[in-house]
Symmetry: C2
Subunit: 407 residues, 2 copies
C-alpha cells in the first residue's frame, strides 16, 4: 500500500464529465489499495473570470480581497469532485486551505507555504477516505485566505506530498510526460521515462510548461518523487526524480526554447568599474529580470559594449529606464531586438562530457545560424538566436544530440 | 452616530456596475458618520449555477460538499465589494462566515445560526472600517462551511444586526417597501410606512416575497428594527418594527394572496376519533404541510367530510398517499382542486375590532365569490376561493378596508 498525491489542473476538471473522469482515475488508485490525496485547480476559465472581475472592479487593488475572490474557484471544484467520488462508492471529503490548514506567509497573491498540518488528514487517509484538496490556497498569519500565485496548484501538491511523506506525487496534465523537446515543432521529440530534478528545473525555467519551476524546486528540496502524466490516457508518464534514481543516464535530456525573449545592446559605455552595476542595479530595482549578459571591450579608448537578454514583456520599460540614464551612463548608442529566441541544451551528463558546447556551436554554424549571446550553467548551455531559425535550430540540435525517436 | 447593518440581494450585486452602486450606498451611510456592516448575497445567477452543478455531478448528495460549493458565491461578492469600497476611499474588509465566525448547528444546507462572535468586527467598525459580510454562510461544529438555505442572507443580516445591537437593519431589494397588497394586481396598492413584526410575518408567509419569514421571526425575537427599501432609489422604505413603535395603527395593514394552493376533499369518513389524526399524521410523516382544515359531520350515520388546503406542488404526492390508505381510512370519495387561491386580510387591530370578518365575508358575497374554506389567527383571516376571482377579491377587499391610495 502506498500513499499517492495526485494533482489535476484546470483543463482536467473543466466540466462535470471531466470531473467524473478524474474521480475514476482516483478510484483506480484506491482500488489498488493505495491512500490518495488529490489536489485540484479551479475549473478551466474560472480563475481568469475571477481575476478579471477583481481587476475591473477598480484600479486600487487589495491582495487580501483578490485572494478571497480567486480562491473560490478551487472551492467549487473540491466539492464537486468529492461528490463525484462518493457517487462511485469512494469515501471522500473536501479540504480547503484554511481547513487543513496550509499555513503561508503574509505575501497575499504570491504566498509561500510555511507548514501543512496533516495530522487530521492522515487519520482520514488511514481510514480509507480520499482527501480532496483545494490547490493554490492557504491561510495567512492574518487569518485570511492567501493564494500561491498562478500555477500554485502544482506547488500545493508537492508541498502536501512532502508533508505527508507520500510515496509519489502524480501531476496529471494535458500532455503525457516530459519530452526531449516541444513535439509541436520537432515531430521526432521523444517522451522521457525519467529526468532529474535539476534538468527538469532547467527545462521548466526555459519554457517547457509541463511543471512550474517552483514546484520542481520544492520537490527537489524535499526529495518528492514526481510523475508527470496524462489526464486522458493510462500510459506511464515521466518520472522526475533524484539523479541517483535514474539508471540509464542520457547524455543530453532535452532541447528547450523560450520564444518570448528580447535583446538589448548598449554601445560605447565607459570601460571602467561600476558601469555594469549601474545598469543592472537600476533594472533590478525596477523588478526587471535580466537573463544572459555579454560584455566586450571594443579596444583602447573606444569603450565597452554590453548585450543582454530579458523577457520581452519588460522591454519597453527597460528601454525607458536606460534612456533616462543616458547622461549618467555616457553611452553613445542603445538598441533592442524583439525577434530573438533562447535555445538551450540541458543534461546532467554535460558535467563530465565537455564536448557538448562544441557539438552545439558546430551544429548551429553548419545551418548558418548566428549565435548572438551565450550563457552556460553546470547542466545547460543557452544561446540567443534570431527567432526565424527556432524550428531549424531545435530540430538540428535534437538530431545532433541523438535524441530523435522513431517518427 | 449609529450602527447600521445593510443587506443587498443577488440582483443588487449582479454585476460590477451594480456592486459599485452598492458601494456608493454604503458610502452614504459612512459619510453620515455611521458605522456600517454590509451583508451580501452571491451575484444573481451564480447560486443557481452552483446548485445545478452540485446536483448534476451525481445523484448522491453530501450536504457538506453542497455547502462548500454554494458558499463560494458570496465569497466572490464580498471581495469585489470590499475592493469597490476601497476604490471610493472607504476603508473596508471582507468577512467570510468562518472568519467572523458565524457558528451554526450541524444541519448542513439548512443550518440555523447559534452564535456570532462580533468582538473583532466591533473593534474594526469602531475604527471606521466597513465590514463586508458574506451572507448565507457560517461554520458548523464539524469545522466545515454550513449554509442557511435559500434566502438565508436576510437571516444573516438580521442575526448580525442582533449580535451587534445595531440601530437598524436595512434590507435593500428590488421593490421600495412593503405594500398593502401586490401592486401588480391592485393598482391602488399603497406602500406602508411601517408594519409590525407580527403582520409582516403573516404577510411574508402568505406570499409577500419582500422578506423571508425566518428573518422576520428572528428580528421580532431580538427586536431588530428592520427597514425594507429599494436598491434603486433613495426613497424611504417600510419600517418593520415592534407594534408599540407604530404610532398610527392602521386597522388592516394589507391583503395578501397565495396562488399556489390546492384543495383536497375526503368524503364519507367514519365519524370517530382518530380519523383526522390518521390522515394528517400520514401526510406529516411524508413532510407534506397542510394549511387550512375544515371538518364537517354530514349527519347521523353518513360519516364526516374533511377539506383541507396545501401547497400545490405537494398535491400529487398527497393524493397518492391518501389513496393508498383508502381501505384503512374507509372513506367513499376523494377529490382535489388545483384552481384555488388563499386570500388573507392581515392587521394587528383585528384583535380589538371584531367587525373585520363580517366586512370580509360580506365584501366577497356581494361580488358573488364563494368561500370554500376559512381559517383565522389572532391577526389574520384567510379564505380559500376559486382562483379566477383572485384579482376581483383582492381589489374589492383593498377598497372595503380603506386601503386604497391615490391612483
Amino acid at each position: 500500500m502506498a500513499l499517492i498525491v495526485q494533482k489535476f489542473g484546470g483543463t482536467s476538471v473543466g466540466g462535470l464529465d471531466r470531473i467524473r473522469k478524474v474521480a475514476s482515475r482516483v478510484k483506480q488508485e484506491t482500488d489498488a489499495g493505495n491512500q490518495v490525496a488529490v489536489v485540484v485547480s479551479a475549473m478551466a476559465g474560472t480563475t481568469n473570470q475571477l481575476v478579471s472581475w477583481a481587476r475591473d472592479i477598480g484600479p486600487m487593488h487589495d491582495a487580501r480581497e483578490y485572494d478571497t475572490i480567486v480562491a473560490s474557484g478551487e472551492q467549487v471544484t473540491v466539492g464537486l469532485l468529492a461528490i463525484a467520488l462518493q457517487n462511485i462508492g469512494v469515501d471522500a471529503r473536501s479540504w480547503l486551505g484554511w481547513q487543513i490548514p496550509v499555513r503561508t506567509d503574509e505575501v497575499h497573491g504570491a504566498a509561500r507555504i510555511e507548514s501543512i498540518d496533516t495530522e487530521l488528514m492522515r487519520a482520514r487517509l488511514a481510514s480509507g477516505q480520499v482527501a480532496v484538496v483545494a490547490g493554490f490556497q492557504g491561510i495567512a498569519p492574518d487569518g485570511r485566505i492567501a493564494t500561491l500565485g498562478r500555477g500554485g496548484s502544482d506547488t500545493s501538491a508537492v508541498a502536501l506530498a512532502a508533508a505527508l511523506s507520500a510515496d509519489r506525487c502524480d501531476i496529471y496534465t494535458d500532455v503525457d510526460g516530459v519530452y526531449t523537446t516541444d513535439p509541436r515543432i520537432a515531430p521526432k521529440a521523444r517522451k522521457l521515462d525519467a529526468i532529474s530534478f535539476e534538468e527538469m528545473l532547467e527545462m521548466a525555467s526555459l519554457g517547457a510548461k509541463v511543471l512550474q519551476t517552483r514546484s520542481v524546486a520544492m520537490a527537489m528540496r524535499h526529495n518528492v518523487k514526481l510523475q508527470v502524466r496524462s489526464s486522458f490516457s493510462d500510459a506511464p508518464g515521466t518520472l522526475v526524480v533524484n539523479e541517483d534514481a535514474i539508471v540509464e543516464q542520457e547524455k543530453i535530456s532535452g532541447i528547450a526554447y523560450s520564444p518570448d525573449e528580447a535583446k538589448v545592446t548598449i554601445e560605447g559605455l565607459p570601460d571602467e568599474p561600476g558601469t555594469a552595476a549601474a545598469i543592472f542595479g537600476e533594472l533590478a530595482a525596477n523588478h526587471i529580470n535580466v537573463d544572459m549578459i555579454v560584455q566586450s571591450a571594443t579596444g583602447e579608448g573606444q569603450g565597452a559594449d554590453i548585450t543582454f537578454s530579458m523577457g520581452r514583456s519588460d522591454l519597453a520599460r527597460a528601454m525607458e529606464l536606460i534612456n533616462a540614464s543616458k547622461d549618467r551612463l555616457a553611452f553613445y548608442n542603445l538598441s533592442a531586438a524583439e525577434n530573438v529566441t533562447k535555445i538551450s541544451v540541458v543534461g546532467m551528463a554535460m558535467r563530465s562530457q565537455p564536448g557538448v558546447a562544441k557539438t552545439m556551436f558546430e551544429t548551429l554554424a553548419e545551418r548558418g545560424i548566428n549565435i548572438e549571446v551565450i550563457s552556460t550553467s553546470e547542466i545547460k548551455i543557452s544561446v540567443l538566436i534570431a527567432s526565424e531559425y527556432t524550428e531549424l535550430a531545435v530540430r538540428s540540435l535534437h538530431t545532433a544530440f541523438g535524441l530523435d525517436g522513431e517518427d
